[in-house]
Amino acid sequence: MDYSPILISVKTAALTIVVVFFLGLLAAKFVVDLRSEKLKMILDGLFTLPLVLPPTVAGFFLLYIFGIHRPVGSFFIEYFGIKIAFSWGATVIAAVAISFPLMYRSARGALEQVDENLIYAAKTLGFSGWRIFWEIQFPSALPGIASGGILSFARGLGEFGATAMIAGNIAGKTRTLPLAVYSAVSAGDMETAGFYVAIIVTVSFVVVVLMNYFTRKEKKGKRV
């Protein structure tokens, strides 16, 4: 039994959630603060796109950006000697791209529900924009933001299509759990596949239950 997919998946999902949490939160803050409704709609569409596109299409775009003969990819190779495509880092990039919309949308929804009088009050009390965000908006929206983070984590853990395209399926390097399931089934090894499947199902289930726990807290918090 090869345990490396478990380790690779855990590492990938862990780094992904840290990146996606802040990226999604800041994107949500940026969109919520926008004054122009039109710009809001367009940016929102752009940020949500990876959620509705087939992962292979997202993978295609990622390859287009980070491929070794592409501007960003060749820049990294030339100046830093880092090859992005088909490295472990590429699994993180794929997972970030795919799970970003979940974080962004949850955070945006939670931020928009913060009582606007709290924000106005903070303004008249002299709070700066960032202070309002971290002291007022963020704590009030925390349950929604946390459940967005958990969803993104689960989505990142299960990422398959875009990962296969930009990171490949290199055993011990980029083969995450979903890819390991695919490889094991292809090789007719249903027992190993079943083991990996059991891990994914268990973790995902725990994560969804955790999220329910957070949303329950949210309702309780609103009542008082």
Binding site: D115, N117, L118, Y120, A121, A122, K123, T124, L125, G126, F127, S128, E135, I136, P139, S140, G221, V224
Partner: protein, 354 residues
């Protein structure tokens, strides 16, 4: 205080156009809900940006559309007390009060907690406070940020009615102690009458009248102002001469102490100004009872001028004792109203006051 406001704002089919200048320390703004009084406060605080106009506080220009000046709310030194108090739910009472203190937080906390009787509540969260405690915390938070002007937006509307009067008294005391300039917005005539020496009445986004509160309640001048000060009986009128008018909706001719002018369009009589009378008395008219409505502490007698079924009924408010001891058995045949109690009213000038 010197506050000059002259602003216009169009918002979702509603248009606000209001101009006023304060003279005293406390100004009340009275108006029905949706008349633009909260919007006016939000413009002064800088939360809402007017389309055009000027706002000047104690010589400081806060907003001037002509010169493209629009000071941020953070820099206006204007405190705002929200209807629901808008206490930060994730901060304690102490955290709320000190969050906007610029100097020594410990000292400020001590001072405001003792002044507003919040001792022992410093570590509680807003959700654990009663309505009155929330209100005092919000007031303390606002005052701790040392604003030049306080804006109070319906400060009692979130409270149970039995608490209101007590808290109004408390607040009056507190506000006397801190002695700041303020504007209080309300739809309750009792509140503004008790708390504000000066009053502005607003209707449909513009100013109806402004002046000393007592004077406005005595002589509202405009129909809308009379309605908002609590007058219940109105009739369209036809001018007969300088001191006589024909109240066409009631079907009586009235003698007035106030002069009836060409633009007098309505007469108003407050519900408690009727008295039983003899046929020969001045402004006496024969009445027939329509209905009697009992309230907890008073009676409303609804009547018409006799033989005028097509006419509007009038409301007479009297104490329960008076009704049960003297009048229940035998409703008087005649009622009268003193000439000085007939309010002579003009139609509100729609958006044309400036």
């Amino acid at each position: 205080m010197s506050l000059y406001v002259d602003i216009e704002k169009k918002y979702k089919g509603f248009s606000l156009k209001v101009k006023f200048e304060t003279r005293g320390e406390i100004l009340g703004i009275l108006g029905a809900s949706g008349c633009g009084k909260s919007m006016t406060l939000k413009c002064i605080a800088g939360i809402v940006t007017p389309d055009k106009g000027k706002i000047i506080l104690n010589g400081r220009v806060l907003f001037d559309s002509g010169k493209r000046v629009n000071i941020k709310p953070q820099k206006r030194k204007v405190g705002y007390l929200f209807q629901d108090y808008a206490l930060f739910p994730n901060k304690t009472v102490a955290g709320n009060i000190t969050c906007a203190v610029k100097g020594n937080r410990e000292e400020a906390l001590k001072k405001w907690v003792s002044l507003f009787q919040l001792e022992g509540l410093e570590k509680k969260y807003p959700s654990q406070l009663s309505g009155g405690q929330k209100q005092r915390t919000a007031l303390a938070r606002m005052l701790a940020s040392e604003p030049e002007l306080l804006l109070l937006d319906e400060p009692f509307s979130a409270l149970d009615s039995h608490l209101k009067e007590m808290l109004q008294m408390e607040m009056l005391d507190l506000l006397k102690k801190v002695n700041r300039d303020m504007i209080l917005v309300s739809h309750s005539r009792d509140e503004v009458y008790r708390l504000c020496p000066d009053l502005m009445i607003m209707d449909q986004g513009s100013r109806v009248s402004m002046g000393e509160t007592r004077q406005i309640f005595k002589d509202p001048v405009f129909l809308e102002a009379a309605r908002l000060t609590g007058c219940k009986n109105f009739s369209r009128v036809r001018r007969l001469d300088k001191q006589h008018l024909d109240a066409v909706d009631w079907g009586v001719t009235l003698f007035t102490a106030q002069e009836v002018s060409g633009d007098t369009a309505y007469a108003g009589i407050r519900a408690h100004y009727f008295r039983p009378a003899e046929k020969t008395d001045e402004n006496a008219f024969s009445v027939e009872l329509t209905e009697v409505v009992e309230s907890p502490f008073e009676m409303y007698v609804i009547f018409r001028v006799k033989g005028r079924r097509e006419n509007q009924p009038m409301w007479w408010k009297l104490s329960k004792e008076e009704w049960y001891q003297k009048l229940e058995e035998k409703m008087p045949e005649y009622l009268k109203v003193e000439p000085g109690d007939v309010m002579v009213l003009k139609e509100t000038e729609k958006k044309a006051s400036f």
